[in-house]
Structures are given as C-alpha cells and as structure tokens.
C-alpha cells in the first residue's frame, strides 16, 4: 500500500484544498492518472498517482485544507479488489484544518515576535508549524503563513526565490524604514463601516438552519479581530462640510491638460494629497497609539480603504506628502488594481499613518469609519452633493462633500482634530494649496 501525499505544487504553497476527488475507493488507477483536483494559493492543479493500484481509502473530505506532506489517500496493490466498504470516513486526526501537526490543546512554543505578528494578522498559532528549536514558531514561519494566506497569494507574486522563506531582514519583516518606531509594521486591515456587518458573537447559535454558513477567511478573521479591537478605542467624530466646486473645476482642468500624458487624477487622489500635505502641518494627527506611548511619525503614509472580493484592504501610499499628483494618481491606481487582484505585497498594505475611507461613489453622504489601529484617526469621505445656501441674502447652489474624522481620544483631543479638519477644508477649498 502506498500513501499519496499533498504535494507542493508551487514555490509558495503551504497547503492545498482537495477541491474534488475524481476517483472513489475501489477504483483502479494507473500511474499518471488523476485522482483529485487541488486548489492551491495560485491555481487548481491535478493530483496524479505514481503507480498502478486500487484506491483503498480517501482520507480527506472534499473541501478540506491539508498541509503539504499530509497523507490524503491510500493506494493498494488491488489484489483483493476494492475494499468497497471503506469510504471517505477519515480518521479524525487526518483531516484537520490547517497544518496542525500538534496534539490539540498543547501549547505552541512561539517567539514573542512571532506571536505578536500572528495576533496582528489574525492567524491561529495552532495552524503554524515551527521551524525553530523544539518546534518553536519564529517570525519567518508566521511570515510564510501570511504570504500564503494573502489574497491571490500575496507574496506569491514576488519573484520565485522561495518568497515565504524571505530573510528576516526583508522589509516586510522589520519595517524599520517604514515605521519610525521600528518593529514590524502594523498590518493595515481595514477600517470602515463594514464593521457593522460583523455579527454580534453568540447570535448564530441555533440559527444555522436558516442561514448559510460561510467559513471565515483569514482576511475576514483579521478584519473582525482588528475592528473589535478598535471598538474599544475611546473615540469621537467630527464632521465638516467642504465646498468642492473649485476642487472639481481644478480636477477637470488638470485632467483636460494632462489627458495626452495619460494622467487621470481622481477626487480621491486630490483628497489623499490634500490630507498628506495637511498632515505634514499637523504632526500630532500623524501619530499612532503604542500602548505606553504615542508614536509621532516623521513620514506620512496614507492608506485608502479598498473593497475587494475577499473583504477590505488598505493599500498604503508611502510618503504621500512628497509625491506629485501625477505620481500619486498612478500609484493609487496601481495599488487599487493590485488590491482587487489580490496581489498586494505585505509592505504595500502595512505601515500606514492615516487612513481614508470613501463611500461617496455609493451615494453615502456622510458616515463614520472605524479607526484602523494603531493609527490615531481615519477620515470618512461622503458623496459630493449639490445643496442650497444663502450668501449676501441670495439663495445659491454649491457642491459639498462631508468629511467625518474619527479620532482616537487617547492620542488626539477635539481641538487638535478640529484644527486639522479646518486646515484640510481650506486646502480643499483653495485647491492650489494641494500642490504646495
């Protein structure tokens, strides 16, 4: 009898999902024949057997996730024919979710750094295999898992030089350049009204019959955990209306003039740039909460919440205050496309110092976003709306966008955030300031 293992089908693959068995116990197979389809982080591949025989047992159910190297099926010589009675009833231990090589309930030896990174990414330590002494999970093990779990393969899009084993000196690990405080950059998973969609714990019991069960993806787990964390942040919201007629005219003018160069600047790009230059003047807002201290960041990295199939993600434009509009527009377009394609690398969605969330395109006029910890504030951008106003006794019309800033009160006080918003409003209403 020979054992069929979950094979490594790509450089970055850590585990695979048995999408479908194409044979059943008792079927005779020839060497080279396909017995299953496997979903990897990159594609669906076929699992072939290497010798003739009869399928004795399928040890894993369809849909189960299996780490590389785990036995998924047994193929016998077939002398006695198929043992028809044996079905896919797998031994419980053989079909765990994730590479749980340990006894359940045993403590996973894990370095503090690895534990911290895992916590930040919502990764369950029990699913990790440790490469350190005594099976200790170290940073590289967690980083490999993050790369494998990133939508579309995350680091899988990196050059095929064994990306999961990236040396700890790689930027995604230390983040020392991106985050002035040193240490790994906090992952920037989302902040947005989507939090409201996270059901309250305990409401699902008993409702299973009327509901479709959707297993949590790693991204959804991370989102839920981080937004729950954020809910504990004492915060306040400030809303300010901004007259955007000059801004819209400014944008139309830029795009008309630069159309030949293929540059197209969006309102969001103008907002990112305006936020970045205003942050430069308000360093207190460009801060994060670090448990026992506040970190005031010297560089301005602006994140933009992007909705993607798998959830929400916040690609980050680094040094947004130092980039011209055309560079910024191109970069934000690229990042958004990569985000939707699930191709963002970890360093492209971490280390932000401030986040923008824009639901204007859905016609939402005003909303509050949930802070993306450990950042001190987030700005929620509503739709542009025409509205009447009175000037010198006459009724006129103007276009207004409402900006709502949610601030971590541990870091920022009302007057500080209000001062930032006032300056941001001025920058947007006199859009030449955006270029300064």
């Amino acid at each position: 009898m020979s054992e069929i293992f979950m094979p490594r089908l790509s450089d970055t693959m850590e585990e695979g999902v048995i999408a479908r068995w194409t044979k059943k116990p008792g079927d005779a197979v020839k060497a080279g024949e396909v017995i299953a389809e496997i979903d990897t982080d990159k594609a669906t591949m076929e699992l072939e057997v290497f010798e003739d025989g009869v399928i004795e047992q399928l040890l894993v159910e369809e849909g189960a996730t299996v780490p590389i190297g785990q036995v998924v099926a047994l193929v016998g010589p077939g002398a006695g024919g198929g043992t028809g009675g044996t079905t896919t009833a797998a031994p419980a231990a053989a079909a765990p979710e994730g590479p749980a090589a340990r006894e359940p309930g045993t403590r996973v030896p894990m370095s503090p750094l690895a534990r911290k990174i895992a916590r930040e990414h919502g990764i369950d330590p029990d699913t990790l295999a440790g490469s350190g002494p005594g099976g200790r999970v170290v940073r590289q093990d967690v980083e490999a898992a993050i790369a494998a779990l990133a939508p579309g393969g995350g680091a899988a899009s990196a050059p095929g030089t064994g990306a999961p084993q990236a040396t700890p000196a790689a930027p995604s690990g230390t983040g020392s350049k991106a985050a002035p405080a040193g240490g790994p950059p906090p992952p920037a998973v989302v902040a947005g009204p989507a939090a409201a969609a996270v059901p309250a714990a305990g409401t699902t019991a008993g409702a299973a019959a009327d509901a479709t069960e959707i297993p949590l993806t790693q991204m959804r787990k991370a989102t839920a955990r981080r937004l729950t964390e954020s809910a504990a942040v004492p915060h306040f919201d400030l809303t300010i209306p901004v007259t955007v007629d000059p801004l819209l005219a400014f944008r139309a003018d830029i795009n008309a003039r630069l159309a030949e160069d293929g540059v197209k600047v969006s309102v969001t790009d103008l907002l990112v740039r305006a936020v970045a230059v205003t942050l430069r003047r308000h360093p207190k807002v460009n801060s994060s909460w670090d448990g026992d201290r506040i970190l005031q960041h010297r560089r301005v990295h602006v994140g933009m919440a992007v909705a993607i199939e798998a959830g929400l993600i916040v690609p980050v434009i680094r040094d947004a205050d130092a980039k011209g509009l055309s560079v910024l527009a191109r970069e934000s377009k690229e990042l958004a496309e990569k985000a939707r394609a699930g191709k963002l690398r970890p360093e492209e969605f971490s280390g932000g110092t401030f986040t923008l969330s824009n639901l204007g395109m859905f016609g939402i006029e005003q909303f509050t976003a949930v802070i993306n910890p450990p950042e001190a504030a987030i700005l929620a951008v509503g739709a542009s709306v025409a509205e009447p106003y009175v000037e010198e006794g006459a009724l006129r019309e103007r276009t207004v966008i409402r900006l709502t800033m949610t601030s971590d009160h541990r870091v920022l006080d009302g007057a500080v955030s209000a001062g930032f918003l006032r300056d941001l409003k001025q920058t947007l209403e006199e859009p030449l300031r955006i270029l300064l």
Partner: protein
C-alpha cells in the same frame, strides 16, 4: 594616508585628560599608590608629579580604605579628587568608604554637600595575574544608587568620559581595563565632555544586536566585521555607562533587530547581562524572535594557567558561536 588623523593610546588619552583637568581646575588633585614617583603601575600618571608637584599628585600608603576615605572627605570640602586604585580588586578594601560613605553622604545629609570624587581602576583578566587580581566586579558598584559607574572602550571616550567624570558632582567609578591601555584610536582635539549615562551604537546593523561594554566592545566589533563578510549585519551597542544604564538605546536596537546577545566580562550569574536581559523582557518582549543570550566568564575563580585562563574568559569565538546559535534558532539566512 597622511590625511588620517593621528591615533593615540587609551593610556595616553587618560594621561592627557588628567593633565588638562589638573591645568584647568586647581581643585583637581590625584591620589593613589605609586602614582607619583613611579608614575603609576600602568603609567597613566606619567609626568604629572613633575608637572604639578606633590601637593596635587599624591603618593599614598598602601591603604585603600584610608586614601579613598581621605578623597571622599576632600571632595566634601570642595576639592575634586581623582583616586587611582591599582586594580579593581583592591577597591574591595575601600568598598565601605565607597558604598557606605561616598554613595550615601549627599542623600543622607540632606544635600548639604556633593561628593565629586572619581575613583579610577582597571578591571579584567587575561594577564595571568590569577584569581584575586583578575576580577570584573563592576556590577557590585553598578548595583548601588548614589554612584555612577562608567566604562569607556575607546581612547576618545576615555578622554570625554574622564573629563565628564571629574566635572560631575557625584562619586564616579571609572572602570578601565588592562587589555585596553595599549589600544589606539583617534581622539578629537580640544575640550570633549561626554554625557554620562549614554550608550552608543558603535556599529549599525539589522540582524542581531550585541550589547556589551569596555573590552567587550572591541571583541564585538571584531566579530561584527567577520559576520559582515558573510552578509550578516550585527549591530553593536557599547553601554559606556553601567549606572545610569541607558536602557532606551539597546531597547530600541533590539526592537529593530529582534535578536540580542550580551557580551560581558563578568560572571554570568547576577551579572550585567542579567540586568540587560531582564530589561529586554520589559521593553522588547514582543519584538524578540529568540531568547536573549549571554556570553560571560566561566563561573570559576580565574585560573592562572594560560590555557585555562583563556578558556575561562569570553572571547570572539564564544560570541560568534552564540550569535550563530541565535541566528539559527530564528531560521536566519543571509
């Protein structure tokens, strides 16, 4: 090549600094055994008796408790004595004066008088001076509030830190090392006054932080150079001051590198490395990818026999081995 500034020895830097301070401030006096006529057991005070006379450069009897006590008394009355004790080992005879008097007087007498005394001595083994003459007991003094304990590793620091020590109003233990006296380095001209209590990142790196002081700094830099050839980047933090201890500098470093090794010349148990490790647990716990390791002297009275002495003292090979173990434990590949 001729553009390179001249280098002087650690010994010369100390000698120059004592001369400069004796010249600058008439309240500065030197006391110690054989520092005058004999010019010091390690020639740190060469020429100073001739230059400044026996009032200010005083040979004392072989009575450490007596002359350290005298220096503390003189400091209380306004002088700035710099005491040389032949080696750290003999300071034990004066430890009551240092710990129970020098360190306490300012606080216990309501701040009526500071005690601006400097007590210099070399520590360290490696010269086949055997167990009683080769000790690293600096941590005994670093344990005591009321004292400052500083340990320069380069000629430039020897100058700037001795100047700072003499001008400081607290009692300062100034730790030298037999193995450092002949080492050379560039020493900036003119007045240099270090800030006591500041560590220095003497080599920047990204992969692992070696935290050390005094003689250990030279070893760590040598090991870092060797690792650099393999593409491994070690950061070296020279503590420079054991009390006050600049925790922020090494904490910040380890939060970046996530790996730390302490190299200390004292014995492992209850040593400098224990304090550093405990601090790292508090300030960098979530950033550590492997346990902090310590490289220290073997826990024996230092043997006289050369091969045994060498085996007992921490050296570059010991440090390199432990660095490799920490790197391996975290799956590091250069």
């Amino acid at each position: 090549m001729n553009a390179e500034p001249a280098q002087i020895t650690y010994r010369q830097a100390l000698n120059d600094t004592l001369r400069a301070e004796l010249t600058r401030d008439p309240n500065v006096i030197l006391l110690g055994e054989e520092i005058g006529k004999f010019e010091g057991s390690y020639k740190i005070t060469a020429g100073l008796l001739k230059e400044f006379g026996p009032e200010r450069v005083r040979d004392t009897p072989i009575a450490e408790e007596g002359f350290v006590g005298a220096a503390i008394g003189a400091a209380m009355l306004g002088l700035r004595p710099v005491v040389e004790i032949m080696t750290l080992n003999f300071s034990l005879i004066a430890i009551d004066q240092i710990v129970n008097h020098g360190a306490k007087i300012y606080g216990m007498f309501g701040g009526q008088t500071p005690v601006p005394v400097v007590i210099r001595f070399p520590g360290g083994g490696g010269q086949q001076l055997a167990a009683t003459h080769s000790q690293n007991l600096e941590v005994w003094y670093a344990h005591v509030p009321g004292l400052k304990v500083i340990a320069p590793s380069t000629p430039a620091d020897a100058k700037a830190m001795l100047t700072a020590a003499i001008r400081d109003d607290d009692p300062v233990i100034f730790l030298e090392n037999l193995a450092l006296y002949n080492t050379k380095g560039v020493v900036p001209d003119g007045e240099q006054v270090a800030e006591i209590g500041r560590a220095a990142v003497v080599r920047e790196g990204t992969d692992l932080t070696v935290i050390t002081y005094s003689r250990g700094t030279l070893i760590a830099l040598e090991v870092a150079r060797r690792f650099a050839e393999e593409g491994i980047s070690l950061e070296v933090v020279d503590l420079r001051s054991l009390r006050p201890l600049d925790r922020a500098t090494f904490c910040e470093s380890v939060r970046r590198t996530s790996r730390a090794v302490v190299l200390e010349d004292d014995w492992l148990s209850y040593g400098i490395g224990a304090e550093i490790s405990a601090t790292l647990m508090e300030c960098a716990f979530d950033y550590l990818d492997a346990p902090v390791r310590r490289v220290a002297a073997a826990e024996v009275p230092l043997p006289y026999a050369k091969p045994l002495e060498l085996a007992a003292l921490p050296d570059a090979e010991d440090l390199a081995r432990v660095v490799r173990e920490v790197l391996a434990a975290t799956g590091f590949r250069s």
